[in-house]
């Protein structure tokens, strides 16, 4: 599974440019006769494993945070706007890549710079090594998207790379779709678009699928690094079952259900309260008359940086946990 994660996280696919991720997933699922594949107006990839039972939607988002070209100045330096939560301290003097393959470096206006204050993103620019404006215009154009340069580091049990948020979720969904496990439920693996800019893909895909139950799969932070906020989620202690984040309060019957499945199958798990961040789950939950929604999160350090870190045991256990949930007869829980 590590190679799957390496492939997925190396794709450049910022919000609204998810096609390369779609292509990779479709190629991986080629030949799976039990799956129906559809795409919608927002680019969501909906993979259905037909069943007679309840409709369960499992969602992970394909997009990563990135940036978009606003202006090429007279010397060939590029001004940009961020796409999603790309923060100044994550990108200063980092390597970046545009979706057309052009590479560059993030520089910043250092006329008034002092070590205490991080420059804002509109005080930064991208340097692609162009001679002048004309030279730059041959390689990039206004509206061109880009993201951080891929850097996959294998630390053994743990890995560090860009965009675990949320290619790790996509890897988990892909693994589940490839595994042939038995369930009566009607499963929809939905690879959503544009989550980082407002949970947009989740909104339209939830409307068209209209599930009975849903699970969003995303990353969450940890409280296991030096002098950090109180958060009882640690790398390696199992997938996190979400209780609360800044956009969603998970219904108690859903939390209890997911914890019971974990306990019954002896899968390690943690309970998660996240301040400052939310997931597609928030949007799916408010579809029509409401959808019972839970979230399985992969504990991740350094979220939204070039070096997000997770534990592969947590990833494998997330697959296990979701699989067991998908096998359950939901009507027995009154869902």
């Amino acid at each position: 599974m590590k190679n799957l994660v390496k492939d997925l996280t190396s794709i450049i696919g910022p919000s609204s440019y998810e096609e390369p991720v779609v292509d990779y997933i479709e190629k991986s699922l080629k030949g799976k006769k039990n799956l129906e594949i559809k795409k919608d107006a927002l680019g969501n990839l909906i993979v259905r494993k037909k069943g007679n039972g309840k409709k369960i939607m499992v969602a992970a988002h394909m997009d990563e945070i990135g940036f978009i070209v606003k202006h090429i100045d007279k010397n060939g330096f590029i001004r940009f706007a961020v796409v999603g939560g790309l923060f100044p301290h994550n990108i200063i003097e980092n390597h970046v890549v545009f979706v057309n393959g052009v590479e560059g470096v993030i520089g910043y206006e250092n006329k008034n710079f002092n070590w205490q204050n991080i420059p804002k993103t509109d005080e930064m620019f991208i340097d692609i090594g162009a001679k002048d404006k004309k030279d730059a215009e041959k390689k990039v154009n206004i509206g061109l998207l880009g993201a951080m340069k891929p850097t996959f580091v294998d630390l053994g049990k743990r890995i560090s790379t860009k965009s675990l948020d949320d290619r790790i979720g996509c890897a988990i969904l892909l693994q589940l779709a490839l595994d042939d496990f038995q369930t009566d439920n009607d499963i929809y693996y939905v690879f959503t678009t544009q989550e980082e800019v407002g949970l947009r893909g989740a909104k339209t895909s939830a409307f068209s699928v209209s599930p009975d139950f849903a699970i969003a799969v995303d990353v969450t932070g940890t409280g296991d690094t030096p002098e950090t906020h109180i958060m009882e989620v640690k790398l390696g202690e199992g997938p996190a079952i979400k209780v609360l984040d800044s956009g969603m309060v998970v219904r108690k019957p859903v939390i209890d259900f997911m914890v019971d499945v974990a306990k019954k199958n002896r899968i390690p798990y943690q309970l998660e309260i996240l301040k400052g961040g939310t997931t597609d789950g928030m949007m799916i939950q408010t579809n029509k008359e409401g959808v019972l929604t839970g979230v399985v999160s992969v504990p991740t350090r350094y979220i939204h940086s070039q070096a997000e870190m997770c534990d592969m045991d947590d990833v494998e256990n997330s697959v296990k946990l979701i699989k067991e949930i998908l096998k359950m007869d939901l009507s027995k829980r009154g869902f």
């Binding site: 609360l244 309060v249 219904r251 008359e289 409401g290």
Partner: protein, 346 residues
Amino acid sequence: MKELKEILKILTESIGPSGMEEKSFESVKKILEGEENITISLDKMGNIIIFRKGDRKEKIAFFTHNDEIGLIVTKIDGDYLRFTSVGGYDEKVLLGQEVTVYGEKVVSGIIGATPPHLQKAGESDKLLKYEDLYVDLAMKNKELEKYFKIGDRIILKSEFTELKNDFVCCKSIDNRGSAAAIINILNHIKNLKNIPDLYFVLNAQEETTMVGSLTSCYSINPDIAVVVDVTFAKQPGVESGISYDSIGIGRGSHICSDLYDYITEIAKRENIKYEIEAVPQHSGTDAYAVQTARGGIKTILLSLPIKNMHSPREIVNVKTIDKISKLLSLFVSEVEFEKYGEKIIK
């Protein structure tokens, strides 16, 4: 069917933090004991829906929210529990409060405060944040691990207390006071005719995500929606609040202006004291979600003035709650639906 003060007492004392509103379902059922013609249900998102069949075919839905702000366990730290808030609790009211923690066991505790004798110089001038606070249940770590976990809810203790001149004091008058106001309509309409189908909705999660109002108004799809929430009553430091004995009637983008005109006419006619609340943009209430549901719903917003909002000692005047019930019961029996719908010009 209970009387207003009793309804208010039962509702405010019941436990229903954001995301766990079903705990209060039994309390609500108790209030409506013996009422015919009324069904009460709990939907999958935690909304409590009371339905009364009417003798007109149109539907009016009243939306208030049932969730109260509260605290949630984030960590078992030695012999103490660490927590954060769910909904906007002011940390300044927490020190020295008695609480109840709802885990495998329900146990009372205190939010610990260092006595002045042991404080360092200047410590009492320091603002305490959630990370500095903890709940002391007088239990040891082993026991805490056995009975409690992350996500368990903590509710501040507050008894329903009657003060002078029809004022009462309790927790969660935001928004159970409004819920009492709408349920009390059932008392007022006993002698009125021409009542449409009525839905009394106690929404989940308004204080956090508004998932309750977004989903309940989608499924009910009423012809007219009335949102009732609380607002600031005048008190020292709150000069812009409304008088404790006025009803607030909202004017702004979330509110249908012709329905606003209509209900203020009734209020003037009946000498019901009201003040206009200017809410040009986000009202901070369920009206935000209800008005744009589906293809749009005609919405009005009424407010109940309370003091000490978002603390465990909110204060309201019971007579004012009754004014809302009276105004709305006249509204439902008199409103002419044909005037407030889609207008086909051609």
